[in-house]
């Protein structure tokens, strides 16, 4: 490494001031010619130019650091927590601003709509299963046939089956069970 000139000439002072401009290609015309002439004559200037070039290359070669994952996790956890904590206040502020802006009727309608829709959608009972009228007729015919068979059996065996037995034990339960079907 050539020794730095302890008694620099005006030329070397000027060259020292323009090394970075020379490397960036910003010297033109007579300035560039002057610099190149000094570069050819002065070992010290050549070493300084090499140093400046190496510094630029070295700095440019440093890779970008990668942010650790835990930093992102903490940042996003903070944002999410803040977002959910502040949500009720933001909603309240929004409604308040609507009210202040003279939108009370619109606000009332919006609230009413929300209540009606939610009650309709949330508490609506389940519809009973659809039953075809042919099925109902068939069920009634089956009941009549069963009663007929019972009466016939009573006559054949000589055992009388009284109305006080058939009514509560057969007719009424069957009638009760058939009631929902007949309503359809």
């Amino acid at each position: 490494m050539p020794e730095h000139p302890f008694h620099p000439t005006p030329d070397l002072d000027w060259a020292d001031e323009h090394i970075e401009s020379f490397l960036d290609g910003e010297l033109a015309g007579s300035d560039r010619d002057r610099f190149q002439a000094l570069l050819a004559a002065e070992p010290w200037l050549r070493a300084e130019v090499a140093a400046a070039r190496r510094i630029q290359q070295e700095l440019a070669s440093i890779p970008m650091a990668v942010c650790p994952d835990h930093v992102s996790r903490h940042i996003l956890a903070h944002a999410r927590h803040d977002w959910w904590t502040a949500l009720p206040r933001r909603l309240a502020d929004g409604f308040r601003r609507m009210a202040q802006a003279g939108l009370r009727p619109a606000l009332a309608m919006a609230l009413l709509l929300v209540v009606v829709l939610s009650s309709t959608l949330v508490s609506r009972p389940e519809a009973p299963p659809a039953v075809a009228s042919a099925d109902v007729s068939q069920a009634l015919a089956d009941v009549k046939m069963a009663l007929g068979v019972l009466a016939d059996a009573g006559r054949t065996t000589g055992t009388a089956v009284g109305n006080d037995v058939i009514g509560p034990l057969v007719v009424r339960p069957v009638a009760r069970s058939m009631q929902p079907l007949s309503q359809n």
Binding site: M1, E3, H4, D16, E17, I19, E20, S21, A47, E48, A50, A51, A52, R54, I55, Q56, E58, L59, A60, I62, M64, A65, V66, C67, P68, H70, V71, S72, H74, I75, L76, H78, A79, R80, D82, W83
Partner: protein
């Protein structure tokens, strides 16, 4: 801006911010803390920022945070007393173990010279020479006129070069 939109901004800029802070502080743990604080401030100010200026804002806030941190803790690398250093190391680029060691020493000396730069020279060197931002972006990030950025960069490069030369002369005096 909801947390999902915020996450995309964090993913986009976190490495740039962390890298800048790490070059300023040279301490990974402190750099992680500062980066985290900077993005939390971004979340708090999210309604007041235009998206295309977010990175400039982040780097400006990061720089102020780094300056505060350095004032508090005086983060500085200890200067090693190696016998070989400075521009003398420029002349050997061979891929031998000795050449690699000399290149490593050169980087250490360069880092030492960078640490000695004051603000805003140091930030300008990091943003321009390491991170590769255009002059206009640096002007916006640091809130300095474009010509001032160029003048400061010129002075900073010269200071780095002279520092490496001084180390060389000191070692061989």
């Amino acid at each position: 801006m909801n947390p999902l939109q915020f996450k995309s901004l964090v993913d986009l800029h976190r490495d740039r911010v962390y890298s800048y802070v790490l070059h300023m502080l040279r301490d990974p743990a402190a750099s992680a803390d500062v980066t985290q604080d900077v993005f939390i401030r971004l979340w708090e100010y999210r309604g007041a920022l235009e998206e295309e200026r977010v990175l400039s804002w982040l780097l400006r806030v990061a720089r102020n945070a780094c300056i505060d941190q350095m004032r508090k803790h005086r983060v500085r690398l200890s200067v090693e007393n190696d016998e070989v250093s400075g521009i003398d190391l420029l002349e050997d680029d061979s891929p031998t173990p000795e050449g690699a060691a000399r290149a490593s020493l050169f980087r250490d000396r360069l880092q030492e010279a960078l640490d000695r730069l004051g603000e805003p020279h140091r930030s300008i060197v990091i943003l321009r020479e390491i991170e590769g931002y255009p002059y206009n972006d640096i002007s916006d990030q640091l809130g300095l006129p474009l010509n001032t950025v160029k003048v400061y960069l010129h002075r900073a490069r010269k200071a780095l070069r002279h520092h490496l030369g001084e180390v060389h002369r000191h070692d061989y005096a």
